[in-house]
């Protein structure tokens, strides 16, 4: 009876007696939350603040110099040609991979939203690239696109698309694109599964109604499914862009940023500054700048998403 009184629509009410009972007889909810929050705080929040502090100092691991220099590292950064080089590659990579993966993912999701025999097999197969460690993906594409014995060269030569072997990730003109291809391979299936889940939340009655109204499949896609899918599409693209912006493993293992810095991205550039040059102050300024850029990307997507949601709502 007492329980029934403290409940409103299945939600417990905060009544005095109940609070006392919670405090006396059980670890409070906050205590249950504490280990998780402590781990997240120690490994994410505190280091970010420490990194911010480091970025304002002139400090290296190799020498005992350690002085507060304000925004000196950031000024040095903006004048650093290598930084802008990495910046450009990162943006190119982020834009190319996000666009390709969203477009391809959408096409695959549309195929999978039809029912056909063996659909389960296709869905299962699509999880394979996602499960493979990125380092393995790097090495795998290193072998596929190998300049001498790679099977990609062999196949393209056989069908006559190229005359001679191409040194895909060994030449400055194609290295970044090879990395884009590897990333598209690894991430598109997951994108497709996300979008498929979004497509499946669209009520069947809507698509059926449009069919009855005589809409052809193309019109149905363009005027019914795409507008309803837009929020999911934007959220998925945002997560993808945030992820692509911090790409590290693929580049570090496949090219190490080379040849001639043509695939250097912000993460690899930062990592080298930190752990090869041991420039902890300068490297922290770099990583802080990346962090700020990520926030900007998230905010931009958030604004677009809100506008889109309002459009759909009206």
């Amino acid at each position: 009876m007492v329980v029934a009184i403290t409940e409103v629509q299945g939600r417990p009410l905060l009544l005095g007696t109940k609070k006392v009972w919670i405090r006396n007889l059980q670890p409070g909810p906050l205590l249950l939350l504490a280990p998780a929050l402590a781990a997240i705080g120690a490994v994410s929040v505190y280091p970010v603040l420490l990194g911010l502090w480091l970025s304002l100092r002139d400090t290296t691991l190799a020498s005992p110099t350690d002085a507060f220099i304000g925004l000196g590292n950031y000024r040095q950064l903006l004048a650093d040609g290598q930084f802008w080089n990495a910046w450009t590659h990162t943006l190119e990579f982020t834009a190319a991979s996000t666009l390709l993966e969203t477009a391809l993912g959408l096409m695959i999701a549309l195929v999978l939203s039809e029912s056909f025999r063996g659909r389960g097999i296709v869905r299962a197969a699509m999880l394979v690239p996602w499960a493979i460690p990125t380092v393995v993906t790097s090495k795998m594409f290193g072998w596929l696109f190998d300049g001498q014995n790679g099977v990609v060269n062999y196949l393209l030569r056989t069908v006559g698309l190229i005359q001679h072997n191409v040194d895909w990730y060994g030449s400055t003109s194609s290295a970044l694109w090879t990395i884009v291809v590897a990333d598209v391979w690894k991430t598109t299936p997951f994108m497709a599964l996300l979008l498929l889940a979004g497509l499946q939340t669209i009520p069947l009655s809507l698509t059926e109604a449009s069919t009855i109204d005589g809409a052809n499949p193309w019109q149905q896609f363009w005027h019914v499914r795409l507008p309803l899918l837009a929020p999911t599409l934007l959220i998925a693209a945002m997560f993808r862009a945030l992820d692509a912006f911090r790409i590290f493993d693929l580049v570090y293992v496949l090219t190490g940023g080379g040849p001639a810095d043509s695939t250097e991205v912000l993460s690899t550039f930062t990592y080298k500054n930190l752990f090869s040059a041991l420039q902890f102050g300068y490297g922290s300024a770099l990583s802080t700048l990346m962090f700020i850029t990520e926030i900007v990307i998230a905010v931009v997507f958030g604004v677009v998403l809100r506008r889109k949601m309002r459009e759909v709502g009206q």
Partner: protein
């Protein structure tokens, strides 16, 4: 007559599929080949002799089949060391993630807690921090504590990186269980922790197993922190080991392929076995129902 009555409807459904059935199957087949092709090629490579690999006539079916690459990586490159390190870190991470994450998710989903959505938002925001932004400060901390080249530094980092996903997925799952179950147990005098471990957790086993698997895969595959925080073979994990597989004069593609197969095949089999749960676990958090 009856057959004729059914037929037109069937026909219309077929026609209503945009580019026709054949194209649909062609696309599906392409997706399958595209997804598993590269890994199949890697498996085939791992079973071929080096001289076949550089012969200029690549083939999918190994002839003759050889296991020399698999023998190489264990005898010549002590690959089992990396495997042991990865198993220790990934399974400890998974256990701690599930323990702390499920309890936290329970508190957030089913107990009286002010500002639960504040906590959830905070956890989600933290999961979007770029990892490169925390690697340097953590390195400084770990080095001060003398934790470099230890399992515990990797486990702690992977725990914090894995918790947001565990908490979000399990939060959603716990919320879907009717609250009346807790109430009934509470009337019988059970305390929340007991309700959790004896009722809610067993009821949620499929979700817990799936999130555990996601955690394990994430820890198993992580590269950057392992690269930064470990420098000896007694603590380096598999991704670091594979990244360091480079010969002096040539790239040992056969050995790399063998190592890839050894670390990936168990994952692929696990993922295929839990396919349905993984997909709903991964996509459930991103799409509002």
């Amino acid at each position: 007559m009856r057959g004729a009555g059914v037929q037109p409807q069937k026909l219309r459904r077929t026609v209503s599929v945009p580019p026709g059935r054949a194209l649909l199957y062609a696309c599906a087949a392409f997706v399958v080949v595209w997804s598993i092709g590269p890994f199949l090629w890697q498996m085939s490579t791992s079973l071929q002799l080096d001289r076949e690999l550089v012969s200029g006539r690549p083939r999918l079916i190994p002839d003759p089949i050889t296991f020399e690459h698999f023998i190489n990586i264990f005898t010549g490159k002590s690959f089992h060391r990396y495997l042991i390190n990865s198993v220790v870190t990934a399974s400890s991470t998974t256990f701690l993630c599930l323990l702390f994450g499920s309890v936290a998710a329970y508190a957030l989903a089913r107990l009286d807690l002010r500002g639960r959505f504040g906590f959830l938002g905070f956890i989600l925001a933290v999961s979007m921090f770029p990892q490169i932004a925390i690697v340097a400060p953590l390195y400084v901390l770990a080095s001060d504590l003398g934790w470099l080249d230890t399992y515990r530094v990797l486990i702690l980092v992977y725990l914090a990186l894995g918790l947001p996903l565990v908490i979000w997925v399990l939060f959603g799952y716990f919320r879907s269980i009717p609250l009346t179950i807790d109430e009934a147990a509470r009337i019988d005098g059970a305390k929340p922790l007991r309700i959790f471990f004896q009722i809610i957790l067993p009821m949620s086993l499929p979700a817990v197993v799936t999130t555990g698997l996601l955690c394990f895969i994430a820890a198993w595959n992580e590269f950057m922190f392992a690269l930064a925080f470990t420098s000896d073979i007694n603590h380096q994990t598999v991704p670091v080991g594979i990244a360091n597989f480079t010969g002096l004069h040539y790239v040992p593609w056969g050995d790399i392929a063998a190592a890839s197969v050894v670390v990936t095949l168990p994952l692929v089999l696990l993922v295929l076995a839990f396919e349905r749960h993984i997909i709903s676990g991964l996509t459930g958090g991103a799409i509002k129902e």
